[in-house]
């Protein structure tokens, strides 16, 4: 037990000093780390819907988009509004939550694969609307996106500038890193608490056998709706942070590809298992960065020319990973313990 605590303390310390180490290499790496944390956050949000409740949602990016646009519209010169983050983030989460409920209510009685297609359609509809709500009345500024979005502002501390505290410089990206880390901690706690709560068990029951769950007295409709709404609101928070960090949002950032990417993080890591999902998200965030710097030189050294662009190779590996995971480890690389049990039972049953 003591060793476990020590481990946690060490990891926490490492995470705390990480941005300062990365800054030594280059602030760019702090930005990369920030985006990685953001994606971990997103996949944990999606994990509630897909992993725990077993509802395949291919339009998750829509909620992310809602959060990002809420921030962009309420804190930029576009409407001349500059609200503080502690008003915007809750609004973003709330609106995303509402969007989740709006999508969920009519579609929840659909079967798994139909639900997937409908959510995909919903995601596309949201993107198309954001892309086109510039005429006849300009709401989202259309494909041009919204520029000069305010960063976070905490009292006197501006997240765009560098401050020095105890002789240690804190750059803008480093400050965002700490905020994101805090949010990440929050969502991990939520995920862990949910896993063994009444609601969490109800979700798993529905995931495994909806008819039986209903017979056991679970109101499957409400419980599923809750999963959708909860997952969506985390997507909304992530979207707000994204807008603040980038200072720019446009519909291009919320294409179907992003939804599939987040889904792949959840699936690859292990649906339902918090640590697995985190590992999956980190893996898929850093592997592309790694490929970008290695694929070209390696191929040039081996074949003397570039045969496969890093971009194509990345997507190919991505597709292959999805297929192979489903084939050989359908519960993910780091499966949930309950899943592990089922997989074992299934094997015995089929043998």
């Amino acid at each position: 037990m003591n060793r476990k605590t020590l481990g946690f303390v060490l990891i926490a310390l490492a995470l705390l000093i990480l941005p300062h180490l990365l800054t030594q290499v280059g602030t760019a790496w702090v930005r990369i780390a920030n985006l990685a944390i953001l994606f971990v956050f997103l996949s944990l949000g999606l994990n509630i819907v897909v992993g725990m409740a077993g509802l395949l949602d291919l339009g998750y990016v829509a909620f992310y988009a809602v959060g990002a646009y809420v921030w962009a519209l309420l804190a930029s010169p576009h409407f001349g509004l500059h609200l503080p983050f502690w008003i915007i983030l809750p609004i973003g989460a709330l609106l995303a939550c509402l969007a989740g409920a709006v999508l969920g209510a009519p579609t929840l009685r659909l079967r798994g694969d139909y639900l997937a297609i409908v959510t995909l359609g919903f995601g596309e509809i949201v993107r198309i609307f954001m892309n086109n709500l510039s005429a006849p009345f300009n709401i989202t500024n259309g494909p041009k996106g919204i520029t000069r979005i305010d960063g976070m502002q905490l009292g006197e501390m501006n997240f765009m500038a560098t401050d020095t505290l105890f002789g240690i410089p804190f750059t803008g990206p480093t400050k965002y890193y700490y905020v994101l880390l805090l949010l990440l901690l929050l969502i991990i706690v939520v995920n862990l608490r949910l896993q063994n709560s009444r609601i969490g068990r109800a979700w798993v029951a529905i995931r495994e056998d909806e008819v039986a769950a209903k017979a056991a007295g679970i109101n499957s409709r409400n419980v599923k709706l809750l999963a959708f709404a909860m997952g969506a609101s985390f997507g909304g928070i992530a979207g707000g942070m994204f807008a603040a960090m980038q200072g720019f949002v446009s519909p291009e950032s919320f294409i179907l590809h992003e939804s599939i990417m987040i889904l792949a993080m959840v699936v690859l890591g292990g649906m339902g298992n918090v640590w697995g999902v985190i590992a999956g998200a980190l893996l898929l965030s850093f592997v592309p960065e790694f490929l970008r710097y290695t694929v070209e030189p390696v191929q040039k050294a081996l074949f003397g020319q570039l045969l496969i662009e890093p971009e194509i190779l990345r997507m190919l590996l991505f597709g292959i990973a999805l297929v192979l995971t489903m084939r050989f480890r359908p519960a993910g690389l780091w499966p949930e313990s309950r899943h592990k049990l089922e997989a074992k039972e299934a094997k015995e049953a089929s043998a």
Partner: protein, 332 residues
């Protein structure tokens, strides 16, 4: 009126292409209740292969009539697509036949990505221009123009539908397919090799996809490695609209979706022009803009891709069995 008629012709042509692709979805779904997400990519591969063959023949300067060259393209595309369809089933889907429902769907997404990237490697990123070899004679039909290619596409899809119906209801393999669709294990007891039937279904669906790909390519004059995805989604919507698992339904759904898209794109702005409606509360501001521009259109053709998804959602919510589907699936 001629404009309306023209939109109907446009819709019928696009709808015929949707219908052929939708047949593929519906057949596979009918037999093993799987949404073959990668079906759109098979269409794309069909178009690309046909394009390569047609270009090679044109490049070689062979003095063949255009229709023969296009047919050569189709004949080359069909076996390639059938092989892809067979491999898809054998390698990706068959091992997952008893896995949880989500597994084959995620695999299908993965296969879709893989096929797209492979096509990108082989044919590159540039859109491929289908050579303009078919002389595109236009006929006048009540003031609207209908081209020979459009007529060919509509007739071809009707013919394919007829052949397919005959095949499913009159041949031994077709009967085996229907038996498997009813109940895999009972069909097995009757001496039907389910694996063979399922593989055969995938192959036939892929063959149809190849034809659809060539139709698309010759009609629009373009093929691109990303063309399959959205086409596949729309065709899937068409299949659901008609009642998934139902052949006639796929045809009907395809044509209807084509018409909805063409008429929606053509007329939605007429109905959402705020200058034509009494809008309570904003007359002043609207009047000014209506005077300046003559129109304040709320929804225009920019929402054309929304129609297919809206149709899909509406059908699934209000009539999940589709227009012609009779059985509501109970499997969760």
């Amino acid at each position: 009126m001629d404009i309306f008629l023209q939109q109907i012709i446009n819709g019928l042509t696009t709808g015929s292409v949707y219908a052929i692709v939708a047949l593929g979805y519906t057949m596979v779904y009918g037999v093993i209740q799987l949404i073959n997400f990668a079906h759109g990519e098979v269409v794309m591969i069909g178009a690309m292969v046909a394009f390569t063959v047609i270009m090679a023949i044109v490049g070689a300067g062979a003095p063949l009539p255009p229709i023969v060259i296009v047919l050569a393209g189709v004949l080359a595309a069909i076996p390639v697509c059938m092989t892809v369809g067979f491999l898809l089933e054998r390698v990706a889907y068959r091992p997952l036949r008893h896995a949880p429902r989500l597994a084959p769907l995620i695999t299908a997404i993965g296969m879709s990505i893989i096929l797209q990237q492979l096509a990108l490697l082989i044919w590159g990123r540039d859109p491929r221009a289908f050579p303009q070899i078919m002389e595109n004679t236009s006929f006048s039909l009540g003031g609207a123009a209908i081209s020979s290619v459009q007529i060919a596409i509509i007739l071809m899809s009707i013919a394919l539908m007829a052949v397919l119906t005959w095949f499913v209801y009159r041949t031994k393999f077709g009967i085996a397919m229907r038996a498997t669709a009813e109940n895999v294990s009972v069909a097995g007891l009757m001496g039907i090799d389910a694996n063979r039937v399922i593989a055969g279904t995938f192959i036939i669906a892929a063959g149809l996809a190849a034809v659809a790909g060539v139709m698309y390519g010759t009609y629009y004059g373009i093929a691109h490695y990303t063309m399959g995805f959205i086409l596949g989604l729309k065709a899937f919507s068409a299949a659901v609209l008609g009642g998934i698992g139902n052949l006639a339904g796929a045809m009907l759904g395809g044509i209807l979706l084509g018409l909805v898209e063409a008429l929606g794109t053509g007329y939605i702005s007429e109905f959402t022009d705020l200058c034509k409606w009494p809008v309570v509360g904003a007359e002043g501001m609207l009047m000014e803009r209506c005077a300046a521009d003559g129109h304040v259109v709320l929804f225009g053709s920019n929402y054309q891709d929304v129609f297919a998804f809206l149709v899909l959602i509406m059908v699934l919510v209000f009539r999940p069995s589709g227009l012609l589907g009779e059985r509501v699936s109970e499997r969760a």
